[in-house]
Symmetry: C2
Subunit: 382 residues, 2 copies
């Protein structure tokens, strides 16, 4: 067994023991009534997490697999899709659109910020026949999230475009109410705000998208959503499901509803707020502009002279606190903290104390404010 | 927790406790040296299981995902591929070839039998420019396996075709020596002869295939083998891996080498032989022709008057022995026993005794031979 550490990564994140232990459920046949009971629980609860009356499917895949399924079932050769690009995962979404043989109309913003709704409007004015609007709801790579999902959904509806959302790293940690915002396909992953182990992706599908996808099924098998929908009717999966991960997801979903979805989102908001305040009290500069800041991934600029490897290595060795480095061109310039899943007082305060202590050691400077006290003030009631 | 049963399915199969418990390894970051240690162990051991000096990648996906990766990275629009079809998974392989926009030259045989090497030769004579030969090494749906893999590899080499093998349900249970048979891409799954939980697929790639795939990368992401190869060099994965399943696979691979790969294959052969003998001693008719019989999936025709649901329901309720029904058009006509993974004396004799008792009850007939004694005679030394 490797050491247990405080996993403050933007996924995978800490998994509660009862969710881990659920994986020890004995192997069962996946074409049995027992499996259908498990499947029914997962689908019913997943629909509530997505806040949809539509369908949900579960894929044995990473979050990227879920996003690939979402995009490839809608976007076809010759189509155009408007795609927000404000980080690595937006680039990936645009690559997937291009991989479908379609044109990606990229709506970009400086990394650390998010595209404005006016930019999307302009894109649709210029490309009124765009088949889809693809939005990354939360950019794991930059710690930014796109807040105007309802306005974006209205815009997509106005132009008759399918509204596809990558909510891999914020579903259940930020409000992404499928039906209310007029979403058509939303993908998420098991290892982020749901606090289950990695390996499953869930995709929610609107009635409108279901009709289109069913009438225009993709040519391959693994991400063939109509196949999953057909089997889901019988509470089965078309291909052998990753059984232990299903048991874990089921238990993780139980925990979501024991707490309450809205309370869980509120907890994520409070913890993010506490992280941002605590890091500012250390004199650190936040990577994301205030209006763009994510509820689940906290990106922080390194102060001058701090070496990424040394900083994260010390956090790991001395405090067993694991945070992520920067993504792509921000490697060495930024560190990212995942504030998701079971994140609460303990996780926030332990991480802040460890980061503060480590920076003090590495810079030799002492903060005038006490970052732990500042963060603690934001956590009243948690 | 659901009940522990004897899972005699053609996957998922029984998973040893120490493999299950390995899933409880604490969550780790997948961009850390700890993960690379795990990954190195899995890749090194997987290469030995595939019997290749080439590369292996691990996908978070079912076996079908692995086969989809194998085919879609090689077969391109306008290509032709020769595909053996002697069951459902051969049909799936042909569908995948067609899904790539290519032509599938189907080499069929009656289900319960396997195509002859002459048929393959003839197909290549008629289609000398076929880009690939796709063979299902073991048909889970019919309990048949294609034995002449070396001859098929020679044929593919003669015509310069890539040799792709679906060995999902027999790798490590039957000899599929990658390098010796001249394979180019072979896919397998975690939940069959390796006795790990379902959810991972491993794909081995020859130098020749690697060169082609790297120079002609697929347009999408999740099954983009060049991406996996690039990350594998750093002992990482491009997308978040299903960590608990990686730990389980690692432990399952340890068990393969504690036993020895050749001994494991021998054990599978002995158990299959014992199953076939035992079922014949019950007066049952085997579905597969003798020359086609699988080492890992035993397909048996139901005697007249036996109801599939009642038979398998009684086996489950009274003996907690789970076997599979027939696939597709053979539903209700055939039952299938998975003889794979940790299968040994206990599994074979318990299953045979339970099947014999159940059939006695349902038919009211008694066998003159003692099927358990007949099977036991085949298990000397195990």
């Amino acid at each position: 067994m490797n050491l247990r550490k405080l996993i403050m990564l933007p996924g995978p994140t800490n998994v509660p023991d009862r969710v881990m232990v659920a994986m020890l459920n004995p192997v069962m046949g996946h074409r049995t009534p027992e499996f259908s009971v498990l499947m029914k629980g997962i689908l019913d609860k997943s629909k509530q997490v997505f806040q949809t009356s539509g369908d949900v499917i579960v894929l044995t895949a990473s979050g990227t697999g879920g996003v690939e399924a979402a995009i490839t079932n809608i976007v076809k050769p010759g189509d155009k899709a408007v795609v927000t690009v404000y980080g690595e995962f937006g680039e990936r979404a645009a690559d997937l659109v291009k991989g479908c043989g379609a044109e990606a109309v990229k709506i970009e913003s400086h990394f650390g910020d998010i595209p404005k709704i006016d930019q999307l409007e302009e894109a649709f004015e210029k490309n009124p026949k765009a088949k889809a609007l693809v939005i990354v709801a939360n950019e794991t790579s930059t710690g930014c999230s796109f807040k105007q999902l309802k306005q974006a959904g209205d815009l997509a509806a106005k132009y008759g475009a399918y509204f596809i959302i990558d909510a891999v790293s914020n579903l259940a940690g930020e409000d992404v109410p499928f039906d209310k915002i007029g979403a058509d396909v939303v993908a998420t992953g098991s290892q982020k705000c749901l606090a289950a182990p990695p390996g499953l992706a869930m995709v929610a599908i609107s009635e409108k998208a279901k009709k289109y996808i069913t009438e225009n099924p993709p040519s391959l098998l693994y991400y063939n959503i109509p196949r999953y929908l057909k089997y889901a009717k019988e509470l089965q999966t078309p291909f052998t499901p990753a059984l232990p991960l299903y048991h874990a997801l089921d238990e993780a979903l139980n925990m979501v509803f024991e707490e309450g979805l809205q309370q869980r989102i509120k907890r994520h908001t409070m913890c993010a707020d506490a992280f941002y305040s605590g890091f500012k009290a250390m004199g650190l500069e936040l990577f994301a502009k205030e209006r763009a800041r994510s509820n689940t991934v906290i990106a922080v600029n390194y102060p001058k002279g701090i070496d990424d490897k040394q900083f994260r290595g010390t956090l790991d060795r001395d405090h067993r606190v694991i945070v992520a480095g920067g993504f792509g061109e921000y490697k060495g310039k930024v560190f990212r903290v995942g504030s998701m899943g079971e994140v609460s007082r303990y996780h926030v305060l332990t991480t802040i104390a460890a980061v503060n202590q480590t920076l003090k050691e590495l810079t030799g400077q002492v903060n005038s404010k006490n970052p732990t006290e500042v963060a603690k003030a934001k956590l009243a009631g948690l």
